[in-house]
């Protein structure tokens, strides 16, 4: 299930940032030139729309690894 969520989030990530997450779940904003605060907001929006969930407020700020977003999606939508 986790893999499924990661795959879908990776696709969303690529559509927003313009490239696949280079280090998978461990990808950090410093690893990707286009993952800035504005792109992060668009990513959060895309994830929330895709999974029908609401991510915690702390994840609206850019800085955490991609895996944290995956974990938050699983917490809020266990079937994801």
């Amino acid at each position: 299930m986790k893999e499924n969520a990661m795959n879908r989030i990776s696709e969303l990530f690529a559509s927003v940032v313009g490239m696949e997450p280079p280090r998978g779940e461990d990808t950090l904003p410093d690893d990707v030139r286009g993952w800035d605060s504005l792109a992060h907001i668009r990513l959060v929006h895309a994830i929330e729309r895709e999974f029908g969930c609401e991510l915690p407020e702390g994840l609206l700020l850019v800085g955490k690894p991609l895996g944290d977003l995956v974990a938050a999606v699983q917490d809020s939508a266990p079937g994801a």
Binding site: I41, E54, L60, L61
Partner: protein
Amino acid sequence: MNSGVVIRKSHVAQFAAACGDRNPLHLNSRYSRTTPFGQPVVHGVLAAIACLTRLDASALAQFQELRLDFHHPVLPATAYKIQVEAEEQKTAVRLLLGDMVVLSAICAKRVSVVDSRTSGQTWTADLLHADLRDPWRSKARTLDAGTLPILGLEHGSYGVDVCRMRTLLEQIGGESMPFHIVSVLSWASYWTGMHTPGRDALLGQVVVRLNRIAASPTCADSAHSLYRVEPPSFHRRTGLVTIEARVLLSEWAADITVESLLRQRAPQATCESVARHLSPSDELVNKFMVVIGGSRGLGRAITLALVQLGATVLVVHRRSLERVTEMRHDAGQNGHRILSVACDAADGAALYAALDAQAIAIDGLILAAAPVIPSLPFHLSTINPSLRYLERAVRLVWAPLAACASRLKDGATLVVLSSEAVEEPPVLWPHYVSAKMAIEGLARHAAKQRPWHVIIVRPSRLWTELTSGPTGAIGTTPVELIASHIASRLATCQSWNGNASLARQATVLSTSDISSPVPLLLRKDEEHAEY
């Protein structure tokens, strides 16, 4: 392939006149000073067009998909590099400041088939009968979180001023650019800046999918178009606005997706908002304080907090008399204790002369003025702007301190605003961190050499009109909370006046101190933490 580009203010004015995007963020210095940019910024679309001029025009005309990503504001009169990377099916053009990508444009040859069933857009008869001479809006629409979600479908006609646009294109080397691309991008800029989200827009991304169509009898050329905009999608928590639109030109249909932010404007501190963190008292009655930059942001909150504790406060501001008047009204019967001097604090001699006219002795000086913070990577190409920032930021502390030094009483309190960024330096702010460290150095020197109490404040991220990021208040500390702590510490320091041995100390007030409730009295063990 790399080349350089400088976009001038005159280009910005010409683009606004040619496409109708007269958003004040691009044209109005006074308005833009109330934003985190501090000065008018270049239209993102104009910067993108400047980038696209570096591509061969015939090749550019063959692309069916264009994706623009805007990462950082583009400033006028700044030297940027344009980098072009061509591949078989797509070409990437990037605008760079040092190695920082400011914007990127990806042009792809992939044909994007328009499917009205999935896009929900249909080309209706009413659209085809729209008047091609719809006037531009003269003033940007102001929308908010209440009005944006209830917008319906909108349609009409749009045309660029061909003569002005062609003159501009010639100046930036784009005279042979396919005009239908310029026209479609101009519409995106106009719609975002003047309609939705309008005045408070911040452009994030534009995706254009172009399809050739049979010549439209209604749209005579590639400068005039009909458009249909679906009701926008609005992400309430972040202010993200997504617009899906179709723009029809004489031989082209463009499906456009625009993602932008509705910028949240940081609220100014008021007596009421400060009172939520600080109870009124008379601890600072008959004390005279000077707050440099005290009309807005954290400085304003500090002014109101000091007044709350009974102090008389002289606000030094550059051109914010209206704001100071508003503060006086807000303070009601205490309003007479807010005085003001209009003066550029960076001009030490002018401030000294202004204070001379007031004939005052100062119990506390709060140095809260700071320039807006541009994002500048540490790079060979950013030496000059970085050092200009450094000089201005340090001057805004150094000059007023020098101007006030002879008027500060023995035992007076000096408050210097630093930042927690000195402990966790942000990657694009080496100039900011350097400036704050220099300011802290001056504060330590003052603490050692003068009979003053010195407080160095290192707050975490604030939400003010100059520091407001895309996420607004999320993850920020309220300025009122920090101001209340500072005012309380000032009151404590003033109570030490009789004890000269307690002066000549520098205390660092950091995030962990500030995140807790305002202490009534400092604990003994933190009173004299020498820095």
